[in-house]
């Protein structure tokens, strides 16, 4: 489930994927799932749906630290499951910084250096733009459903709607560090919470939907917060302010030249 979570995190920052997944969830998961197969089906269809969509969104990211808050605005484009571009637009200090994900490769552009850097694998788990997200959270969208076994472990209520709680455990031998993930999906297909646990069952971090509204005509987690349990008082909050879905994204968008010199 880690991969899904990563995907989901990714979506949190790049709402296109989120929305794609959510749309599908909405369509396919109207009937509440009640068994393991159904749990997997929900995630599987979310994943499949995601793959087939494109998006363009404007997102604000607030990074809360003991030393102060940092607020950034970014614009993102996604297509399919392996192409994504995020470009920061504000504040001036961060504007122009961009991250391009092409398949399994991640490229970073820094306008001050005027240089595109391909991230080495060892850097993938480092913090992305000083937030609680890592580069890994942005990428690795594939094999999400396949590497875990999913089980419906309960239900709760959110905003008058039923929320299904799915426990996802990595399949043996898969290169996944997490012990398990617990994912909450609301009956209308909105992911409300993703919790990451270490192998001893201790929660490491969690992402929660703080505000669910309508965006681009769909129910959507407009405000999502990522918290690391070992660092109380710190979090990263992602707010999607505008989004379009299933639009035609020009093919030049996801190129290194566009990463460096935006058209």
């Amino acid at each position: 489930m880690i991969r899904l979570s990563r995907t989901v995190n990714h979506n949190a920052v790049k709402p296109g994927r989120w929305l794609g997944a959510l749309v599908l969830l909405l369509v396919t998961a109207i009937a509440p799932a009640a068994s393991a197969q159904d749990a997997r089906a929900i995630l599987q269809s979310a994943f499949d749906n995601w793959r087939a969509h494109s998006s363009h969104a404007v997102v604000e990211m607030l990074v809360k630290r003991a030393s102060g808050n940092r607020s950034m605005t970014m614009e993102s484009w996604t297509e399919g499951d392996d192409k994504a571009l995020v470009r920061f637009t504000a504040p001036a200090r961060d504007a122009g910084n961009a991250t391009l994900q092409l398949g399994s490769a991640t490229y970073v552009f820094n306008p001050k250096l005027n240089q595109v850097i391909k991230l080495p694998a060892s850097a993938m788990s480092q913090s992305w733009m000083g937030s609680d997200f890592s580069y890994d959270d942005l990428s690795r969208s594939q094999k999400v459903v396949d590497d875990y076994t999913h089980k419906l472990i309960g239900t709760k209520t959110n905003d008058g709607k039923t929320v299904h709680v799915i426990e996802s455990i990595p399949k043996p031998g898969k290169p996944i560090v997490w012990g398990k993930q617990v994912i909450s999906v609301r009956s209308d297909g909105v992911l409300t919470e993703i919790e990451y646990f270490d192998q001893l069952g201790k929660r490491v971090r969690a992402m929660t939907a703080d505000k669910i509204g309508t965006l681009g005509g769909r129910p959507y987690p407009i405000v999502m917060t990522m918290r690391t349990d070992a660092k109380p008082g710190q979090f990263t909050r992602v707010t999607t302010t505008a989004a379009q879905f299933d639009i035609k994204v020009p093919s030049y968008t996801f190129t290194k030249s566009n990463l460096q010199n935006p058209r």
Partner: protein
């Protein structure tokens, strides 16, 4: 000359004991000084040996073989096939007690909490037990059991940094033969306790498991060999180089420059110590001898007045110093010989283990008596002692008989 010596030897000897207190003080100065040099030398050597053994037996061995270019850029492209033919025959030389083949690749290790750089070491556990001390340093869990054991043994400190532990899985990532990234989960089956750098630097797994993981057939990165007798190192090395001229073959001195440098530094350091101790000893000797000459002014004046030549006075006083310092040197040799013998069973420094770990030292030192150093240092102290004692002797010989006779002591 012989006759003179025959006369002067008993004279000088008796003169020494006319003032036993002064003589004993000088004896103590000389013998303690020499004892400190000799004992310190053997202690330092033992220390050096212990830390060298500890470091080399960890992983390095007395030498290693790599493909050319591997040490500059340890990548999957700079590997070599397992030894065969001439090289294999040379490695099976009886002077090489053991050798192992390893696959060492740079990579990263990932846990739930952290991602850290690491060297992935594919090893043959059985062979490794004979050459490396790490299998014996596993304090939790167990060492690898076979070449295809896909568990991983990591250092205690690394496990602490990763916040992982025994029985949990970590992900190892490394470049594979296709130039892509291989990632695989490995269960932590053992934790070893070595120095912190080693604990942080290596993750051990079975060599076959490691080869399979990055898509290799049987290529290896490194052959490490042990040569128990130091003198055999150079001949065996040149024999290996002859057998495999295309490979990069190096001794521990080239592989661990730090160790080789500290080795030669320690050897030079004893001379610094000798110089310091000897300066103090010289002050002691000159001071007491000058005092003696001063007290005996009247006596020297009388001897001169009776017709003794000044050269003879010089000889007499020098003979006295020769006996005095020589006796002190013998005493010092005896003392240091006894104390080295008493400690030859080993000095256990495990009480300072934490500090020693940083210096990569061994925990038990075995001081040994090095006969050459023993004789050389003793002789050196004796001769230098006589040399500085020439000054008071010269003063005694230069006394004017008339003035000296008048001198009331």
């Amino acid at each position: 000359m012989t006759n003179t010596l025959k006369t002067f030897t008993p004279l000088a000897w008796r003169n020494l004991w006319r003032n036993p207190r002064r003589t004993v003080i000088t004896l103590i100065v000389v013998s303690i000084g020499l004892w400190s040099v000799l004992f310190f030398n053997s202690f330092l050597n033992a220390w050096m040996q212990a830390s060298k053994d500890a470091t080399l037996s960890l992983l390095i061995g007395q030498g290693q073989i790599h493909a050319p270019g591997y040490l500059d850029d340890p990548s999957i492209e700079a590997l070599m096939p397992p030894p065969s033919g001439k090289l294999l025959a040379a490695l099976n030389d009886p002077r090489i007690s053991n050798w192992v083949a390893r696959l060492q690749l740079p990579g990263v290790v990932e846990s739930e909490y952290k991602t850290l750089p690491i060297n992935i070491m594919g090893v043959d556990p059985e062979a490794e037990k004979h050459i490396s001390s790490i299998p014996g340093k596993v304090v939790e869990g167990h060492y690898l059991t076979s070449t295809s054991d896909a568990g991983v043994v990591i250092g205690l400190h690394l496990a602490e940094r990763l916040k992982t532990g025994l029985g949990r899985r970590v992900i190892l990532m490394s470049q594979n033969t296709e130039g892509k990234l291989s990632e695989q989960s490995f269960d932590v089956i053992g934790l070893f306790d070595a120095d912190q750098a080693t604990e942080d630097y290596y993750a051990f797994t079975g060599i076959k498991a490691a080869q399979q993981y990055v898509g290799l057939k049987n290529q290896i990165a490194q052959i490490a060999f042990a040569i128990p007798v130091e003198e055999n190192l150079d001949p065996v090395l040149s024999k290996l180089k002859q057998a495999a001229p295309d490979l990069d073959i190096r001794s521990w001195k080239e592989l661990s420059v730090y160790l080789a440098t500290s080795d030669s530094f320690m050897k030079g350091f004893i001379y610094v110590w000798l110089a310091v101790v000897f300066s103090l000893m010289a002050i002691g000797i000159v001071n007491t001898q000058l005092m003696a000459v001063f007290e005996r002014t009247h006596e020297f004046g009388l001897l001169r007045a009776l017709g003794m030549k000044s050269r003879r006075v010089l000889l007499l006083v020098t003979l006295e110093s020769t006996f005095l310092i020589g006796f002190g040197v013998l005493l010092g040799m005896l003392l240091s010989g006894l104390s080295i013998y008493a400690l030859s069973g080993g000095i256990d420094l495990s009480g300072f283990a934490a500090g020693l770990e940083m210096a990569q030292g061994g925990q038990v030192l075995f001081p040994k008596l090095d006969p050459v150093a023993f004789l050389v240092f003793s002789l050196l102290v004796w001769l230098l002692g006589i040399l500085v004692a020439l000054w008071p002797a010269r003063r005694a010989s230069r006394l004017s008989p008339v003035e000296a006779m008048r001198y009331a002591s």
